[in-house]
């Protein structure tokens, strides 16, 4: 049982239907839909830190919400601790929710401006009966100190705190119900460089000390490399590459991952981009290209890419969905 992953996602599909005009409906035009997740499969081991990276609109936030049960999938299975959460009864769902918590991107809009910090953190503790009612205040103080805030912050309102402090409150609130899985969606993206580094170190420490499993969603590859042991790369609703972060960063097997890594502006003037940037912009997820979704921008696309690419397994649990994955790794392009 020790080998069973905490979270296992298999062939997950999610589509969002688009509005269809009345005329289009009467004329029998098919309903158009946005492909947010297509046959996405991956697993996160207990205590592992998994990074999900991709550009806007690639479906990474949707995937996080599907995992948390905030959105129903259109197909596939999500197993949390062995239990298929897509088929769970509403009563059991509440117990499950306690075990998975989310930290949101914007700590300004995720805290109620009229509720003091202490009540915001204490509410889930009371609701789930984590500690007896007379111990809630003590628990809140302990949580605040755990995330690096003074216990006196409990009597403050969100408007009295800075962005970094609010994000610490968001983390404390997520931790308050003692979850097993923490899903953090762009949790450090709105923060300044120096504050971002503080929160990254906090998340890393919490994971180590509490044995938390982390699903860290971000567009920032540098942050993912710092924090995560495994990484999944999304493009247009599909996971195009997955593997240990060290392998994916050193030997990317999908041309998109390669392009993404080459696009990071490195804080090193001697490394001025030798590679030409990726041309074009992602196509609409309403009308994704047939075959490989990346082929319209891929520098090495060939006729074969019009057919669905296979998942190519590489050493060390690393895989990529590309006809030429082994070639990409071998040639470094």
């Amino acid at each position: 049982m020790a080998d069973r992953p905490l979270l296992a996602v298999e062939a997950l599909d999610k589509y969002f239907p688009l509005r269809r005009s009345l005329v289009a409906g009467m004329m029998g035009h098919p309903r158009r839909r946005v492909q947010a997740a297509k046959e996405v499969s991956f697993a996160i081991g207990k205590g592992e830190s998994f990074g999900l990276v991709g550009e806007s609109g690639c479906g990474k936030t949707t995937l996080g919400r599907l995992v948390l049960g905030l959105l129903p999938p259109d197909g596939g299975v999500i197993r949390f601790d062995g239990q298929d959460i897509t088929k769970v009864e509403p009563t059991a769902r509440r117990a499950l929710r306690r075990q998975m918590q989310m930290v949101f991107q914007d700590p300004y809009s995720s805290l109620n401006p009229r509720i003091r910090i202490g009540s915001a953190i204490g509410e889930p503790i009371r609701l789930h009966g984590i500690v007896p009612p007379d111990e809630v205040a003590g628990e809140v103080a302990r949580l605040l100190e755990r995330v690096g805030l003074p216990a006196s912050a409990a009597s403050r309102y969100p408007s009295e705190l800075s962005g970094g402090q609010r994000q610490r409150v968001g983390i404390a609130r997520a931790l308050s119900v003692r979850p097993k899985l923490l899903v953090a969606d762009e949790a450090v993206s709105g923060l300044d460089v120096s504050v971002r580094a503080q929160v990254l170190n906090l998340l890393a420490d919490l994971r180590r000390d509490l044995g938390l499993t982390l699903m860290f969603i971000s567009h920032d590859l540098g942050v993912i490399e710092y924090l995560c042991e495994t990484v999944g790369v999304m493009y247009l609703g599909t996971m195009v590459e997955y593997g240990p972060t060290s392998a994916v960063f050193a030997r990317p097997a999908h041309p998109y991952t390669r392009a993404l890594l080459a696009s990071i502006p490195r804080a090193d003037p001697s490394a001025v981009g030798q590679e030409t940037p990726l041309a074009g912009e992602p196509p609409s997820p309403v009308d994704p290209p047939s075959g490989c979704p990346f082929r319209t921008r891929c520098p090495s696309a060939r006729p074969l890419c019009e057919t669905p690419p296979p998942r190519v397994m590489l050493p060390g649990g690393h895989w990529a969905v590309c006809h030429f994955a082994t070639e990409v790794v071998r040639n470094g392009r």
């Binding site: 550009e55 120096s194 170190n201 920032d220 490195r266 001025v272 981009g273 940037p277």
Partner: protein, 331 residues
């Protein structure tokens, strides 16, 4: 040596308040030569955007220049009246902003917005406007100029909108382009395209660029020299290679130590504790002193003066990090 294109000297910007003026920017001095790319980096609220907005006198609300000068082409823009500024905005100095969607007018076509500057400044005869518009659209890499010129901003993608905003800024051939976080709202692959475009345009048009950003990586890839701002002041300035190789100001060192460069095991981050001070409650001495690892009693008494460094630039610190060793061949 020829005189610089832009020389900002002892610039101070403040907002009048109940208990005296709150200083947003204090004693900022720098020069930009023709064709040069100058970066200004810092975190939110450090005064970097306020500084470049002051150059074309686009300060928001009640904020105003309280002292200092901004010399562009022999004129002091800090004291210039609207009649003097108008021909300069767009034609002498162009500007692009962080969010292209809010910078563009949603009810006018992109083509109309690109040619607006030409109509306003009257530099190009009306029959040649369309040709100039298409020329500048090709220059910024907008495909199919005729179709995009007839489009509205909401019909374009984020990258295309920023290209359109750059086209608007370039149409009157400014000698200086001010860019305020031009790629912050864009995805990383689109950011790479826009940064390459800005560098190419600068070389092809011989235009100077001031790039304001919070991202040291963006500066490293684009600029010749860089100023680091903290709490309303420039705390360090250096040629681009030196700021990364041998930063002197403890804040610059701390900022560089806050960028993830690998795994935590190999490159642990050492963040700066605490927060920048509120502009209304800045400490009397060095603003960075309360967070500084090198802090000594003198740091709290008076703001440190400027120490010029060999090879250009300098820093404002009593106890800087050691510079590049004398043994090192170049400064």
């Amino acid at each position: 040596m020829t005189s610089p294109l832009l020389a900002v000297e002892h610039l101070a910007i403040g907002i009048p308040g109940g208990e005296g003026t709150v200083a947003l920017v204090e004693d900022v001095s720098f020069t930009v030569r023709a064709g040069e790319a100058y970066g200004i980096v810092g975190e939110s609220g450090c005064g970097k955007s306020t500084t470049i907005r002051a150059i074309i006198r686009l300060l928001a609300g009640r904020a105003g220049i309280t002292s200092g000068s901004i010399r562009f082409d022999g004129q002091d823009l800090a004291r210039a009246d609207e009649a003097t500024l108008r021909p300069l905005r767009g034609a002498g100095i162009g500007m692009i902003f962080q969010d292209p969607l809010t910078a563009l007018n949603p009810v006018l076509t992109v083509g109309r917005q690109i040619t607006e500057g030409l109509r306003y400044h009257g530099t190009v005869p009306s029959r040649e406007r369309r040709a100039r518009m298409q020329e500048v659209m090709r220059l910024v890499g907008l495909p199919d100029p005729a179709r995009i010129a007839a489009s509205y901003p909401h019909e374009l993608s984020g990258g295309q909108r920023q290209r359109a905003a750059i086209a608007i800024a370039l149409v009157c051939s400014p000698r200086l382009l001010l860019a305020d976080e031009p790629t912050t709202a864009l995805d990383v692959t689109i950011q790479a395209q826009i940064l390459k475009l800005l560098s190419d345009l600068r070389h092809r048009l011989g235009m100077a660029l001031i790039l304001v950003t919070h991202d040291l990586g963006v500066v490293a890839q684009t600029c010749d020299r860089v100023a680091v701002m903290y709490s309303g002041r420039i705390v360090e300035e250096a040629p681009i290679a030196r700021i990364f190789a041998a930063p002197r100001h403890p804040y610059t060192v701390a900022l560089l130590n806050s960028i993830p460069r690998g795994t935590r095991a190999h490159h642990p981050l050492h963040p700066i504790a605490g927060m920048p001070p509120d502009p209304a409650e800045r400490p009397r001495g060095c603003s960075f002193a309360p967070r500084c690892p090198n802090m000594q009693p003198a740091c709290e008494r008076a703001f440190p003066g400027w120490t010029a460094a060999a090879g250009g630039g300098g820093f404002a610190c009593y106890h800087p990090a050691p510079g590049q060793a004398e043994a090192s061949p170049d400064g």
